[in-house]
Symmetry: C2
Subunit: 167 residues, 2 copies
């Protein structure tokens, strides 16, 4: 029987977190992960079900840490918005894994996604439709910035200032 909750499993989770942050989503392969733990890739499957379990775990950690960062930020909409950008740029791979591949809803703790969504709604203080637009605005800015879609000489600080003013 596979050990799905032992100390090795915890080490796998920790190593995958490091690997993601260092090498990005594309660098997160089962063999690279196994190398880091000085075991062979197939041995990972004695402790976890499949790669999606690792993905889901990282998505959950991403959502959680993101939520904490937003909560910690100052109360003003401006502070929250800058915290959004700041966290995403500081953790681009963690941000990527939560937004640019399908969210494995069945395998992350219930309520986690809603918790983050509600957090954004609280920030705006208005209705859900407005909150979604604000969320989309911040997500779009970060996504385009990380993807390098804005020209190098773009003044993104100023762009964010304008964006916050639009809210």
């Amino acid at each position: 029987m596979a050990n799905t909750d032992g100390p090795t499993r915890e080490r796998i989770r920790a190593a995958s977190y490091e690997l993601l942050n260092e090498k990005g989503l594309a660098g997160l392969s089962m063999r690279a992960l196994a190398d880091r733990l000085h075991i062979k890739a197939p041995s990972l499957y004695k402790h976890i079900e499949d790669k999606d379990e690792i993905i889901a775990d990282l998505q959950a950690r991403g959502l959680q840490e993101f939520g904490i960062a937003i909560r910690r930020a100052g109360k003003s909409r401006r502070a929250k918005a800058l915290a959004y950008r700041g966290w995403a740029l500081a953790n681009p791979h963690l941000y990527e894994i939560t937004v640019s591949i399908p969210l494995l809803r069945d395998r992350i703790p219930a309520g986690l996604e809603d918790g983050v969504t509600n957090l954004i709604i609280e920030i705006t203080g208005k209705d859900h439709e407005h909150a979604r637009a604000v969320w989309a605005l911040m997500h779009g800015l970060v996504d385009l910035e990380i993807a390098g879609r804005f020209p190098k000489d773009a003044d993104l600080d100023l762009t964010w200032k304008r964006a916050v003013a639009m809210i």
Copy 2:
């Protein structure tokens, strides 16, 4: 010598366009592409350099068709915004290939990316910073919608109405 501009190359381009729209980015493999042309995968390399050439070609077509759709829309900001959403939802895979993987700038026609960027700036009629925020807003809305991040019961028509009002 490889034939890099013959009729077969044109057929490869056409087939890759179909394949992308039918099966999505994940379904666009060299072997699947070759199957559609009734040849074997390695034979593709007699006509093209590598897969990135196909990706770049599709990104260029995406940008071009997107630009046309936006230009054709009514002059109002609202009409333009709805055209943005409409085109992206009607061509999700083409939209995806232009925004969710790195844009192969060195391999798409010069000026194409700037053309689309300028188009968005024209829509807002304001400065670049404002235009970028508007672009991010629309991109974010579409990206989150395609990724299924909004709840099923979300009224996205209304969300877009609010978003347009924010512009």
